[in-house]
């Protein structure tokens, strides 16, 4: 037995274990959105949920203007269990003209809405920071809604070095 074959076996075992963990993550997600098989989920993950429909249902069917909102995080997260999510909205917080809510969506999540924040003029500033979990790369959207119903947003493609499915 050579050192080479031993290391191949170890590597194969390691990859096998990795694959199993990934499947558990995906199976859990697929089950939730009612996908019949794991294979289908892998083939067409985007078809599982329609993010635009979800946003329209949550926030109203208005057009989202991609301005005023900033997601201030690096494009590649080192740790999927702790993805920094500082979000700011450049908008007045006056008594009659303010940001009433800010909602964060991760497109690839089985349940895309991660968090929703409701503000009042007494908030002074529509800016929050938190940490979220991401199992894999996904688009992240932050959508702000004014008290008058106008929607502003930011969309960011985020890579994840190490998935946070287990955490």
């Amino acid at each position: 037995m050579s050192i080479h074959s031993e290391s191949t076996l170890t590597r194969r075992r390691f990859l096998g274990a990795m694959g199993a963990t990934g499947a558990v993550c995906m199976a859990a997600g697929a089950g939730l959105v009612g996908m019949p098989t794991l294979a289908q989920a892998a083939d067409a993950p985007a078809a599982a949920v329609n993010i635009d429909e979800i946003i329209a249902k949550d926030l109203g069917a208005g057009k989202v203007t991609l301005e005023k909102v900033k997601i201030d995080t690096p494009p590649k997260a080192e740790n999927g269990a702790l993805v920094r999510m500082p979000i700011s909205v450049d908008h007045p917080m006056d008594a009659d003209n303010y940001i009433a809510s800010l909602t964060i969506y991760v497109d690839e999540n089985p349940k895309p809405m991660v968090a929703m924040f409701e503000f009042s003029p007494a908030s002074g500033k529509a800016e929050v920071e938190m940490r979220i979990k991401m199992a894999k790369a996904s688009q992240v959207r932050a959508i702000a809604k004014t008290n008058k119903g106008a929607l502003y947003g930011a969309i960011m493609k985020l890579e994840v070095a190490e998935g946070g499915c287990a955490g």
């Binding site: 199976a27 993805v83 924040f117 979990k133 955490g167």
Partner: protein
């Protein structure tokens, strides 16, 4: 359950001018279990256990109200702002899906 609770809320230490915005930082220990994860050995789903709402009261009104999912990280950090109007506490309340509740506050000083 040892690793749950111990809420912390921190505001600016220096007195603020009326109308200035104050950064409020909060932290709490919580597993934030999504309910989507499976035990890799038994195959059983780990039950959901996460904070569903966080709200902040200041000057007799709710200034920030949040709804969270199980995709918020474990031991969640959360920061937000309030507009300093008068001296008083900012009281933060966390509630999880099992009905457990925590409260903690930070004092804001206005000159």
């Amino acid at each position: 359950m040892a690793d749950i609770g111990e809420p912390k809320v921190r505001g600016p230490e220096k007195p603020l001018k009326k109308g200035e915005v104050a950064l409020i930082k909060t932290l709490i220990k919580h597993p934030m279990e999504s309910g989507l994860r499976k035990n890799t050995e038994t195959g059983e789903t780990i039950p959901a256990h996460y904070i569903e709402t966080v709200s902040a009261e200041y000057g007799g009104a709710t200034v920030v109200k949040t709804q969270w999912s199980g995709a918020v990280s474990k031991n969640p950090f959360f920061s937000f702002y309030v507009k300093a109007d008068k001296s008083g506490p900012v009281t933060v309340t966390w509630k999880d899906n099992k009905g457990q509740e925590w409260k903690e506050k930070a004092e804001i000083k206005v000159e």
